[in-house]
Structure formats: structure tokens, C-alpha cells
């Protein structure tokens, strides 16, 4: 994107319409709010002047006649030098901790498998028709022909890397009526190199797995392999981003 054109795109309207806007704002509103009565303005000026005079007087008379050894700000050359040193120390503190010490987050010799999926299990009970007797018992506005219970089965997932089970867990459906999707979010740090990834998902109560995917991967250093799931699109989806040679 052409950044310079971008800048004018914002600056020109601000410069053109800004003063107009502000003038309208001021004339029709802000002026009354921020205008201070002359009397108050004069009093304020007198108070500020009196306070400044008092401070000056106090410093002039310091150490004598009932005024303590009060000090004003240190404006000597040596004072500024010492202030500079203090500020230097403070600046070093800020500058250092703003980007140090470094933090080793991930092992450079490892990659990451991220499992993130949300899938609704099958309904536990199928829809059934209501008999005439049952319908008669209900209120007239509640007489739906079919009764479809909402509850779903929990979803069970297994993740194997090179025949070694990294993850085998079941997730309950979300929601108070247990009718929402079941969610998984998990990260696995894996060594670089060739691996076989096997994924299995079961979303009913029958044994066996409704969705199984196997994939051979070559995991590079720092690579993030994302595992998602979409039943409509065939099941598991493993995204392997390409990394340039320099990056891995």
C-alpha cells in the first residue's frame, strides 16, 4: 500500500475540516463552558502572583526570622549535572528493561502442532412423532408434531504422532442443555524431522471412529502445523505452512 498517499488521505480532511469543526464547536458551545468571568480571572491572577511572591520572599528570608532553611529547586550547574546523572540512570533502567533480558519462548529445534477444533457431536436421540393423545395433553400453541431432543454426544479425539498417543480426550458439548459444539484447543511441541500424524474423531456412542486422517509430515524448526476440523468438508484439515529455507 502506498503509505504516502495514505497519509494525505487522512491529513487533508483534518486540515481542511478540522478548523471549521472546531470553530463551530467553540462558537456554539465550548466558549460558554470555558470562558472564565473577568472577576475570577483577576482573582486567579492575583492568587498566583501572591503565591509566587510568597515563594520568592520565603527563599529570600531563608534561615532567618522564623523562616526555615527552605530550598527552591536546585538550579545550580552542579545540580543540573547531578539531575542529569539521575535521569541517565533512570533512562538506562527504562531502556534496558524495555527489550531485555531476552526470553526463550520456544526451543529452536522444535516445531508446534496446534489442535483447534469445534465440532458438534451427533444428537443422542432422533426425532420422534407425538401421538394424538400426547398432543391433546399440550396447550394449543405447543402442539408441534415432532419432538426432537437437543442433547448431543460428547466428542472424543485422539492424536498420535509416530504411533505415540499425544492426546486422547473427550469434550462435553457446550451449553446448559448440552447441545452446543465440543471444543478443543491444545498445543504440542514436537521435534523437527519426519513424522506420521494420525488423527481420530468420534462424535457418537458407537465404537470406532467416524473420522480418521493420517498424514506424513516433515516438521521444520519453528513451523506451526495447524489441525482443524470441518465435518462438511471431509473431516480433519492439516495446514502445513511453507517456510523459506532461510527461515527454518
Amino acid at each position: 500500500m502506498d503509505t504516502s498517499a495514505n497519509v494525505y488521505f487522512f491529513i487533508v480532511p483534518v486540515v481542511v475540516f478540522g478548523p471549521l469543526f472546531l470553530w463551530i464547536f467553540y462558537t456554539f458551545g465550548i466558549k460558554e463552558l470555558i470562558k472564565i468571568p473577568e472577576e475570577m480571572r483577576r482573582k486567579r491572577r492575583r492568587d498566583v502572583q501572591a503565591a509566587a511572591d510568597f515563594q520568592a520572599e520565603r527563599l529570600r528570608k531563608r534561615g532567618t526570622e522564623a523562616v526555615g532553611l527552605v530550598r527552591g529547586p536546585n538550579t545550580t550547574a552542579f545540580g543540573f549535572f547531578m539531575q542529569g546523572l539521575t535521569f541517565l540512570w533512570f533512562a538506562t533502567l527504562i531502556g534496558f528493561f524495555a527489550s531485555s533480558p531476552p526470553y526463550l519462548y520456544a526451543d529452536p529445534g522444535a516445531g508446534l502442532i496446534k489442535l483447534s477444533l469445534s465440532h458438534a457431536g451427533q444428537r443422542r436421540l432422533s426425532c420422534s412423532k407425538k401421538s394424538a393423545a400426547e398432543l391433546a395433553k399440550l396447550e394449543p400453541n405447543m402442539r408441534a408434531r415432532q419432538s426432537c431432543p437437543r442433547e448431543r454426544w460428547p466428542v472424543y479425539i485422539e492424536l498420535e504422532l509416530d504411533n505415540h498417543k499425544l492426546f486422547a480426550r473427550s469434550a462435553k458439548p457446550a451449553g446448559l442443555s448440552r447441545d452446543g459444539p465440543s471444543s478443543f484447543y491444545q498445543k504440542f511441541s514436537v521435534a523437527t524431522g519426519k513424522h506420521r500424524l494420525t488423527l481420530r474423531l468420534r462424535d457418537t456412542d458407537t465404537s470406532g471412529f467416524g473420522f480418521v486422517t493420517t498424514r506424513d509430515l516433515e516438521i521444520l524448526s519453528g513451523q506451526v502445523i495447524a489441525v482443524q476440523f470441518n465435518a462438511a468438508k471431509g473431516g480433519f484439515r492439516v495446514s502445513v505452512p511453507t517456510l523459506n529455507e532461510e527461515q527454518s
Binding site: 526555615g68 530550598r71 536546585n74 539521575t86 526463550l104 519462548y105 471444543s183 484447543y185
Partner: protein, 523 residues
């Protein structure tokens, strides 16, 4: 029991601050001492961050793909302006974190968060989180590796709550999953959080009477030059650009904002939530742990009060209001004390014109009086001090009364050898007529006043009011007839006892010389 524990924690921190403050008083002078201006400095750094942030935002591209290149261009191609602004933005916000942390610690160590001050403390705790959120959301916008790390960790942490319906960390799963719309949400947060922070800062100082939110000009200029020099010498740069297909290995975090993230990595979301919520809850209820035994608020005696408003003008906590008369006397107003805002400092007693020590029919009474240290009791203590000095000194030594406060140097340690001592909750409680009383007749050779260090009155305005009353600038004036050469003032912090002792000795010697001169002239 809890009080002892609390004091045990507060005491070393307070001593540390006192030592540092006295140390900084030298190069900066008390008026510019940054350790006494931590709150105002935090405000100042906020404004620096706001202005520099607006500048940087003008050039910022809010799309996912354009964010990083726009910041890079600003930092490197416009290094003389934009780059400096960016660095200023980063370092001023870091400085604000430091000032805020020190400020909270200092006020905690001085016990200035309980009783009437609970509101200020309570509204200060959200400021911590708002500032951290403001800073962290700002780092997201750069969309470099550090931003990626911080964003993903933050989203995973939020996901633990399970309140968003679906996982927000999913937005960062693959290269294509972060869209411009979600990124705009992050941009919005970085604009909204600091605005909300400013609003919360305003609320934080709402109940503070005569609150200062601007540091002294010299200090502000010096701090700004410091940030500018740091920005030029060590400009802020970005990490390599974010890539959701890669996990960043080595990071250089801004520890002022990101100190909790490694803890998240090590201990998990649940632990971090417990720590954050538990810690915040503890901080929020701190004003009530342990229950504060408060000195009772002053009482107004309407038979002595004519509504002259001097106590109202002087109260540092706005705890006194003037209201229409209720006792039928022909005066317009009467003073009314709001005990929720009052800290029993006694400055109102010092301001009341009826607070005079000259004997009257019956006990001394005044318009507004502290139950814990009534005017009558103060009068008795002063007289006890006088008696003490009459009994102790060797021949020729001057007799003087040292009047101090409970928060500066402990004056009671100086009693004896011609010196009597009285300690008040605040030196501003001393009515100037008492000085007139002490220095007339043959009661005392001299009076020395002390309190907290300059610019550091525990009750905010005691030193200022006392100085102005002595100088004849603030009612009640110290009478002109009172000999100023027999009055000495020295402000000293709690850890400056030796300096105070030295001043005391010098003053006593000066009084002796004065007495000698007087007696020679009399002859």
C-alpha cells in the same frame, strides 16, 4: 496482630523511600524531587504517550498486511520524527508504569490508603490493569513476532474463561485466519483502553482536594529531555514480522508490560487468572484490612462558631462544608464536618480564630475541636512543656519549646536540658496565638517549630499553611508583636533527626546570646 504484620511490611519500605527522598532532595531540591511527584509524573508521561501516539497513528496502516510495513517505514525512513515519536511513545509508557508502581508502593508504605483515603486507593487499582492493557494492546499493533506471541497468549488466557462462545485464539491459528476485521478490534482496543484509563485517572483524583496533576515545570522538562535522549540514543525497533505459520523462538519483551506472560507459559491460564484476580481483590480490600482505628473527627461547637469559614478554607481534605445555620443564632452559616472524609489532622483547629490559649472564664473552648487532642489538652501540654523547662536547665541556658508533628522526626527524643516538646497530629494544628502566648511574658525564651520535610507534609498542606500564617499571608496571622528572632522553623523528615538536633542546639545558643545582649542593654 494484622496491624503488626502490616506495619512490619510498611516500615522497611517507608524507610527506604525516606532515605531515597532525602538523597534526591540534594540534586533536585524539594520542589523538583521526582519521588514526591510520582503521581503527577505518571500523568505527564501519559500526555507524552498520548501526543506521540496520535502522531504515530496518523501513519499507521490498520490492515493486517500493512501494519508492520507502515511502522517499519515510520521507524526507519522517518527516523528523525516518526521514529523518535515511536520511541517516545514506548519509553514514556514504560516510565508511566514505573511511576505508577512506585506511587502505589509509597502511598501504601505511608498508610495513606485507609480511612478517608480508601476511595483514592480503590479507584487506583483498576488503573494498573488499564495501563497494562493499554500498553499490551499497543504492542499488538506492530504485528511483529513479539505482538504475535503476546496476542496469542492473551487470547488463550481469555479463552480459559469460556465466555466468548468460541475460541478467540482460533483467529491466530493459521496464516490466513487473522482477518482485517479482528485486527481492527485490536486497534480499537488500543484507542479505547487509554481513553478509559484517562477517565479512570480523573476519578482517581476526584476526591483529592486541590489535586495536582501536573509536575513542576522544571521536572517535566527534565523528564522529557531524558525520554528524548533515550529515544534518540536507543530507538524502539520491531521484531521480525509476525508469521502465524511460525512460532517465535527468542523474544525481547518489554518487561514493564509483559512480565506475566512467561508466567503464563510456565503455569498456565488458570494459575494466572487466580493470581491476577486474587491479587487485585486483595489490593482492593486492603483499605479495610485491618480495620483502621481512626481518631474521631473534630466536633463543631456552635456556641463558639460564627461561620467565618477559616476552617473550611484550610481543610486539606474538603471534609468541612459551610451550611445554613441550625441553632437559631443570627449567623448565616455554620461549619459541618464530614467524618467520612476527615483524617483528624487538626488543621481546622489551628485555623479557628477562637483557638486562643489566653485564660478565660471556664475551660478553653473553640469553634471546632478534636476529641483526641482538644484545645484544652493542648494548652495543658504546652504548659507542661513550660514547667519541664523551668525544672531542668543549668544556669544561663535558654529555655525553648520544640513543637513538632507525629509524622516528622519524633520530637520527644529532644526533651530535657531546657527543651520542652509537644507533638501534634500535624503542625498545621498549632494556632499562631499559642506562639504569641509562649513568647510573651517570661514563659519561654524561644519556640522551635518542626514537621515533615519540605514539600512532604503527611497531611498535604500543614507546612504551607504554617509558613503562610507565620508570614502574615494566611489567616490567622501570627501577630506582628511576636518577636520573630525568638522563633525558629526547621522542616525535617523522620530520618533527619540529627540535622534537627543540630538546628536545635544552634537556636538555643542564639537565644542565649540574645538573652545576654538583652540583659546588658537593660543594665
Amino acid at each position: 496482630m494484622t496491624l503488626i504484620m502490616l506495619n512490619a511490611i510498611q516500615y522497611p519500605i517507608r524507610r527506604l523511600f525516606e532515605g531515597l527522598e532525602v538523597g534526591f532532595d540534594g540534586p533536585f531540591g524539594p520542589v523538583w524531587n521526582p519521588l514526591r511527584q510520582l503521581g503527577t509524573l505518571a500523568f505527564f508521561f501519559f500526555w507524552v504517550a498520548a501526543v506521540s501516539g496520535i502522531y504515530v497513528f496518523i501513519f499507521f496502516d490498520t490492515s493486517v498486511s500493512g501494519a508492520y510495513p507502515s511502522i517499519e517505514q515510520l521507524t526507519h525512513q522517518q527516523w528523525f520524527a516518526g521514529g523518535i515519536m515511536r520511541s517516545l511513545h514506548r519509553y514514556s509508557s514504560d516510565a508511566m508504569v514505573i511511576c505508577m508502581g512506585l506511587h502505589g508502593l509509597r502511598e501504601f508504605s505511608r498508610d495513606r490508603y485507609r480511612g478517608a483515603r480508601w476511595f483514592t486507593w480503590f479507584t487506583g487499582i483498576p488503573l494498573i490493569w488499564l495501563l497494562l492493557i493499554s500498553g499490551i494492546s499497543g504492542y499488538w499493533l506492530v504485528w511483529d513476532e513479539l505482538a504475535q506471541y503476546v496476542a496469542i497468549n492473551s487470547m488463550e488466557w481469555l479463552d480459559w474463561l469460556g465466555i466468548f462462545g468460541h475460541s478467540v485464539a482460533e483467529n491466530f491459528l493459521t496464516r490466513g485466519s487473522l482477518d482485517d476485521r479482528f485486527f481492527s478490534l485490536l486497534v480499537f482496543m488500543h484507542i479505547f483502553a487509554p481513553l478509559f484509563l484517562l477517565f479512570a485517572m480523573w476519578i482517581h483524583i476526584l476526591r483529592v482536594n486541590r489535586a495536582k496533576s501536573n509536575p513542576p515545570r522544571g521536572l517535566a522538562i527534565g523528564s522529557f529531555i531524558m525520554l528524548l535522549a533515550l529515544s534518540i540514543a536507543y530507538p524502539a525497533v520491531s521484531h521480525p514480522p509476525a508469521d502465524l505459520g511460525r512460532v517465535p523462538s527468542t523474544l525481547y519483551p518489554d518487561w514493564f508490560f509483559m512480565a506475566l506472560y512467561p508466567l503464563f507459559d510456565a503455569a498456565g491460564a488458570g494459575t494466572l487468572w487466580a493470581l491476577v484476580m486474587g491479587g487485585s481483590l486483595l489490593l482492593c480490600v486492603l483499605p479495610w484490612l485491618p480495620p483502621l482505628r481512626r481518631n474521631p473527627a473534630p466536633e463543631v461547637y456552635l456556641e463558639q462558631c460564627n461561620g467565618c469559614t477559616r476552617c473550611f478554607e484550610d481543610c486539606p481534605y474538603s471534609a468541612i462544608t459551610m451550611q445554613p445555620r441550625t441553632d437559631g443564632r443570627p449567623f448565616e452559616q455554620e461549619a459541618v464536618v464530614n467524618s467520612d472524609l476527615c483524617t483528624a489532622c487538626g488543621i481546622c483547629v489551628g485555623a479557628c480564630p477562637m483557638s486562643t490559649p489566653f485564660r478565660r472564664e471556664g475551660e478553653l473552648q473553640t469553634g471546632i475541636d478534636l476529641p483526641s487532642l482538644s484545645l484544652n489538652t493542648l494548652y495543658k501540654k504546652i504548659n507542661q512543656g513550660i514547667e519541664l523547662t523551668k525544672n531542668t536547665p543549668p544556669e544561663g541556658q535558654a529555655r525553648l519549646l520544640l513543637i513538632g508533628c507525629d509524622h516528622g522526626t519524633d520530637v520527644n527524643g529532644f526533651a530535657g536540658s531546657g527543651v520542652g516538646t509537644v507533638s501534634l497530629p500535624c503542625i498545621g494544628m498549632l494556632p499562631p496565638s499559642f506562639l504569641d502566648y509562649l513568647l510573651s511574658g517570661d514563659r519561654m525564651d524561644g519556640v522551635m517549630l518542626t514537621g515533615c520535610a519540605q514539600c512532604d507534609c503527611h497531611h498535604r498542606l500543614g507546612i504551607e499553611w504554617t509558613e503562610q500564617r507565620l508570614a502574615g499571608m494566611r489567616d490567622p496571622y501570627l501577630r506582628k508583636r511576636v518577636p520573630r528572632n525568638r522563633l525558629h522553623v526547621h522542616w525535617a523528615a523522620a530520618n533527619q533527626g540529627s540535622a534537627l538536633g543540630h538546628q536545635l542546639k544552634t537556636f538555643q545558643n542564639r537565644l542565649q546570646d540574645l538573652a545576654a545582649t538583652d540583659s546588658r542593654e537593660a543594665k
